[in-house]
């Protein structure tokens, strides 16, 4: 039987990788994926806890997270399409109008 | 030796099953293509394949050899990963989707009890949907990777179409789930068992024995339409619409990779037919009441005359090869029928699978029939139909069913 710690550590690693991708990717869509990766890491921790405690609440929250992620994807990708149309680029470093 | 078997049975039995399944599936696919060509040919008043082997029975074999031997050119500027991944993905997922399907009741043999089918997951329906959900990537990737406008358009179209119809597909099943209250296909089938009403117990009609049932005809219609769209078959075969997109997403594929797409498509057809059979048509259950025991001899009653007819037809065949082969086949069939007639135990084992495959065959024939008769949708019509008609109707079915169940509860 696998101890909960393993799962938690794994989720921590995945989360860190997600953060790395979040900081290092230049493509908006990829950055978005990084966010999804972090969400998944959190989900893993949720499930691990809920199974360890023998309560299903954690899994319910995973479901909620997934729903939210879906909604987020819908809206976020819509925004991305708009920016891509207007700025002719997906590189976040080329979309820098928000400054002095 | 035996204890070795006993020790590693959990590993060996599935492996054997997988082997059988893969072989069976490939064969069935192959002969499905033959059947398709024949049927369509007759629909169009042609002969269809009849050169390779008697009645073109060896045509699939020839096709297979051709696929293997043909040169496999790779267009310039393709995305290698995607280009290679796509066909494998398609085929693998298609075949895997069959792994959770129970083709019949559990088998009791040599003191072991094992399920008729590879895996017996208690959420097998969800697993099935999960696998089909991943099926999109094969098409989409193929379209994108092969660096070709037609392919890209085909891929985009098909991914859009598959996402759209997946919703309807899933929702149309919810009615059945509500009634059966279980996600395991096996339990869903067992639930539809109705000793003295036979086929009325099927979810299609919904007079289950001692539970709240409700006719799922609407659900079935939605399910079947959505399923056709999911498998990209006529009249929803826009991704590979020859007239507009050459061959759609697999324009750039040749020989074995193309074969993979081909097999994948037919396999998913089979899978979907199995699903329809299980969910709405009582899976392996006989349509007749249980106490009509004489119906158990139906297999033999079908097989023996058919075999005799094949022999009769074979001996008058033009080619010598045919005159040898066909009688042989006919003799085998007759023998099997006789054996079933003589050994009731074997007959009982065969009952479930017999009905199951019979129903599946009907569906497959329906597929072919439609391909022979129906024209293709226009893209906007397709989308409108999916979102504005199919989805609402299936949701309505859910509401209707749950309302009925509530009423039954009180």
């Amino acid at each position: 039987m696998v101890p909960t710690n393993y799962y938690l550590i794994l989720s921590a690693i995945l989360f860190g990788l997600g953060v790395l991708a979040f900081v290092f990717k230049r493509n908006v869509i990829t950055i978005f994926m990084a966010i999804e990766l972090m969400l998944n890491a959190v989900n893993l921790a949720f499930v691990a806890f809920s199974r360890a405690l023998g309560k299903s609440d954690g899994e319910v929250f995973v479901l909620f997270v997934i729903i939210v992620a879906a909604a987020e994807a819908a809206v976020g990708l819509g925004i991305i399409i708009l920016t891509a149309r207007n700025r002719r680029s997906l590189n976040v470093e080329r979309v820098d109008l928000l400054k002095l | 030796m035996s204890e070795f078997l006993a020790k590693y049975a959990f590993l060996i039995v599935p492996l054997i099953k997988v082997a059988i399944l893969v072989f069976a599936v490939l064969t069935v696919d192959a002969y499905l293509t033959w059947l398709e060509r024949k049927v369509i040919a007759h629909i169009q008043a042609r002969w269809g394949p009849h050169r390779v082997g008697p009645h073109g029975l060896l045509q699939p074999l020839a096709d297979g050899i051709k696929f293997i031997l043909k040169e496999d050119p790779m267009p310039a500027g393709v995305d290698k990963i995607g280009y290679f991944l796509a066909p494998f993905l398609t085929l693998t997922l298609a075949v895997t989707s069959l792994s959770v399907i129970p083709f019949g009741p559990d088998i009791k043999a040599f003191g072991y009890v094992t399920n008729f089918g590879i895996a017996d997951v208690n959420v097998s329906l969800l697993v099935l949907f999960a696998i089909t959900a991943l099926g999109v990537y094969g098409v989409a990737l193929a379209g994108w990777a092969s660096n070709n406008k037609y392919s890209l358009l085909g891929g985009l179209r098909s991914s859009a179409q598959m996402i759209s119809y997946e919703l309807a597909l899933t929702l149309s099943v919810v009615g059945v789930l509500l009634i059966a209250g279980d996600l395991s296909l096996k339990h869903i089938v067992e639930y539809q068992e109705n000793g003295n009403l036979g086929l009325l117990g099927w979810n299609l009609f919904g007079f289950a024995k001692d539970h709240a049932g409700f006719t799922q005809i609407i659900g079935f219609v939605c399910f079947f339409i959505a399923a056709i769209a999911e498998t990209n078959r006529v009249p929803f075969d826009l991704p590979e619409a020859e007239s507009e997109l050459v061959a759609g997403f697999h324009t750039e594929y040749a020989s074995m990779k193309f074969a993979m797409f081909f097999i994948g498509e037919y396999t998913s057809m089979i899978a979907v037919s199995c699903l329809a059979t299980i969910l709405f048509f009582g899976g392996w259950l006989s349509p007749f009441p249980a106490y009509w025991t004489f119906t158990h001899y139906l297999p033999s009653v079908i097989l023996i005359p058919f075999g005799l007819w094949v022999i009769f037809d074979g001996v008058r065949y033009e080619t010598i090869f045919g005159r040898i082969l066909l009688p042989g086949v006919g003799a085998t069939l007759t023998a099997i029928g006789a054996a079933l007639f003589l050994f009731p135990a074997a007959n009982d084992v065969i009952q479930g699978p017999f009905w199951f495959f019979a129903k599946v065959f009907v569906f497959l024939f329906f597929y072919i029939w439609m391909r022979g008769t129906l024209p293709r949708f226009r893209y906007d019509q397709l989308m409108d139909f999916g979102w504005k008609i199919l989805l609402p109707v299936s949701i309505g079915n859910v509401v209707l069913t749950s309302a009925f169940l509530l009423w039954r509860m009180h």
């Binding site: 921590a12 900081v23 499930v47 809206v75 | 990963i81 969800l126 949907f129 959900a133 996402i163």
Partner: protein, 168 residues
């Protein structure tokens, strides 16, 4: 070193490698594919923990819908390889250490958190009935949040439509 542990390590390695490749791949499609692999691996882990419903949902929704959407958008925008611009000094030099610090912090927190929970096996006792439990929770205790999420989805759909349609 039982079978489950072996499976765990296989899947974990798969997930980690895939996420690394998500970072290293230059083409968004490849990143997307790697992310899908991560998700499938995670689904396997869920199955390993006996949370089969969550696993199925993970694949259906994430793999079958969300990621398809990503791939679809990437194809639609015909996104090419990303150009490795380095306009942000902060990200270039501060990125790795900060990310490491963050994940290290989380790991340390886990390592220091209460031990008996940490070492107890993460596997359900009633795996078979867990789907039923889940639905009970979802539609009894958490029914209001659940309905709220449906509203959220609705709003998201409207927003997406409004955003994506061209002005005319």
């Amino acid at each position: 070193m039982t079978a489950s542990v072996i499976i765990f390590f296989v899947l974990a390695a798969l997930a980690v490698l895939a996420s690394v490749s998500l970072i290293l791949q230059r083409h968004p499609i490849h990143s997307a594919l790697s992310l899908i692999v991560v998700m499938v691996a995670l689904a396997g882990l869920y199955l390993l923990m006996g949370a089969e419903f969550v696993a199925a949902v993970q694949i259906i929704v994430y793999g079958g819908a969300v990621m398809v959407l990503f791939v679809f958008v990437i194809m639609l925008l015909n996104a090419g390889e990303e150009e490795r611009t380095n306009f942000s000094k902060l990200a270039t030099f501060g990125g790795i250490p900060l990310a490491l610090a963050l994940s290290g912090m989380i790991a340390a927190g886990i390592a220091r958190s209460s031990s008996q929970l940490a070492t107890s096996p993460a596997t359900a006792e009633g795996a078979i009935s867990s789907t039923r439990q889940l639905s009970m929770l979802l539609f009894k205790d958490f029914v209001y949040p659940f309905e709220l999420t449906s509203f959220l989805i609705l709003i998201a759909i409207l927003g997406a439509i409004v955003l994506a349609q061209r002005e005319n």
